[in-house]
């Protein structure tokens, strides 16, 4: 009987070890990436943010309508103009795939900056710095400064564009932000 007990003891310990080894403790939900191959090298992918539905946070000095409405933004504690936004990030199928932040700032001794962080839990994060000036057609372009995990070995660019909801709607501030990324493996050629 003692031998049976010892066998059980070993089996129990092995079972716990085996389960922890074989069964992932964390399993991130993955939406299939919708990526197209660009003619001149690299991959293109589009993300969207629906406004106001996907806006998690909007904070700035003296803002009359912050998001969420009960946000206590520290007026005056951060010098210069600073506009902080946090969004849910959607793919082309309109499924939420991550979260993103957009910082627009201009300090007393600093040029204007517009910067995005795209955080896709199953894939990694991308840090993109944008040109402050908008291009013709309402686009603004930027470059990937840093990526983690899946984005770590990539370089490339991103454009942002604000598309207002159709005229006649009674919510003039509604619309969506379109983000189009064009990433290529570091060392690859992007034209």
């Amino acid at each position: 009987m003692f031998k049976t007990f010892v066998v059980g003891l070993l089996l129990g310990a092995a079972a716990v070890g085996g389960v922890l080894y074989a069964v992932p403790v964390v399993n991130q939900h993955r939406e299939a990436s919708i990526i197209s191959v660009r003619t001149n090298g690299g991959n293109a992918e589009a993300f969207y943010v629906n406004i106001p539905m996907d806006r998690i946070l909007l904070g700035a000095d003296g803002l009359a309508s912050p998001v969420p409405p009960d946000l206590a933004w520290p007026d005056g504690m951060l010098s210069g103009e600073l506009n902080t936004e946090l969004f849910k990030l959607r793919n082309a199928r309109d499924a939420v795939v991550g979260v993103a932040s957009r910082i627009a700032a201009r300090g007393p001794d600093q040029d204007a900056i517009i910067e995005w962080v795209l955080h896709v839990p199953a894939r990694g994060s991308a840090y993109v710095t944008m040109q402050p000036e908008a291009l013709e057609g309402g686009y603004r372009s930027g470059v990937l400064r840093h990526g983690t995990r899946e984005f770590q070995s990539l370089s490339g660019s991103m454009t942002e564009r604000w598309v207002a909801q159709e005229a006649g709607d009674d919510s003039p501030g509604d619309g969506r932000i379109e983000l189009e990324v064009a990433f290529v493996a570091i060392g690859g050629a992007e034209e």
Binding site: M1, T4, F5, V7, G8, L9, L10, L11, G12, A13, A14, A15, V16, G17, L20, P24, V25, V26, Q28, H29, E31, R55, I56, L57, G59, P68, P69, D70, L71, A72, W73, P74, L78, S79, G80, L82, T84, L86, K88, V96, V97, V99, I103, G107, D109, Q110, I113, E115, V117, H119, V120, P121, G124, S125, Y127, T129, R145, H146, T148, R149
Partner: protein
């Protein structure tokens, strides 16, 4: 029948012993010293409150013991972001003066391996310092010791809480020395390419509400070429030997 009972008792005891070994694995040691802390380069130290209620905003899936705040902030309930926390917080310097804004994205990682004492979180800090510039810190955190030393004891305690003094280095990669990767974005940090660590000091934790008294610290190594630009006194902590 008695053999079956003996086998069952053995199974249960073996499973419990294995679970206890994983939790109290002596090979998983507390490492509070990072190579950055003995670096000869200057260090930019940014402090923040580790209590979610002190942040400007904190959001998660709404089922965590840490309540999203403010109360009307959107929660991350969609499947792809359910295991993600986002915190927007003020960052302070060594004299407790506000020096910037930090946004932390943190997601549980699929590389978590409890057998080897790794409860991994992939996180990225975005830091904006008015008048100075912006940078990001990408890192992998290991929260195993935090869970083992604070969260589990809080749940086991009859008072549903933990009190004590705990300081730990959360960062354990992706840098080869267990540091996070720092990349500058604008201003005086535009050319920055460096390393960082995040440490946490906890004094009280509630099983129902999460951290009650805790402070976090981001320590960023500033290479000599970048630190030649003037830094405000007090924010740069060290010119360590």
């Amino acid at each position: 029948m008695k053999y079956l009972l003996a086998l069952l008792a053995g199974l249960l005891l073996g499973a419990a012993a294995a679970a206890a070994f994983i939790v109290f694995n002596p090979l998983v040691s507390s490492s509070s010293l990072s190579p950055i802390e003995v670096s000869r380069n200057e260090l930019l130290v940014l402090n923040y409150s580790g209590v979610a209620e002190d942040a400007l905003a904190h959001t998660n899936n709404g089922e965590s013991s840490i309540n999203p705040q403010p109360s009307r902030v959107q929660q991350l309930w969609e499947p792809a972001v359910r295991q993600t926390d986002v915190t927007v917080t003020l960052l302070s310097g060594s004299r407790n003066e506000t020096v910037g804004l930090g946004i932390k994205f943190a997601s549980w990682s699929e590389s978590t391996q409890l057998l080897s004492g790794e409860a991994v979180v992939d996180s990225l800090w975005y830091v904006y310092m008015p008048g100075r510039g912006s940078l990001v810190v990408g890192q992998r955190e290991n929260r195993f010791q935090y869970l083992r030393d604070i969260v589990l004891p809080a749940h086991w305690s009859s008072s549903n809480s933990w009190k004590g003094q705990w300081r730990g280095n959360l960062t354990f990669g992706p840098g080869s020395l267990g540091t996070g990767v720092v990349v500058g974005g604008s201003g005086e940090f535009a050319e920055l390419d460096s390393a960082a660590i995040e440490t946490l000091t906890a004094r009280a934790y509630s099983a129902e509400n999460g951290p009650v008294a805790a402070e976090g610290q981001l320590t960023i190594e500033i290479p000599a070429a970048v630190s030649a630009d003037s830094f405000e006194e007090g924010v740069v902590a060290g010119d360590t030997p």
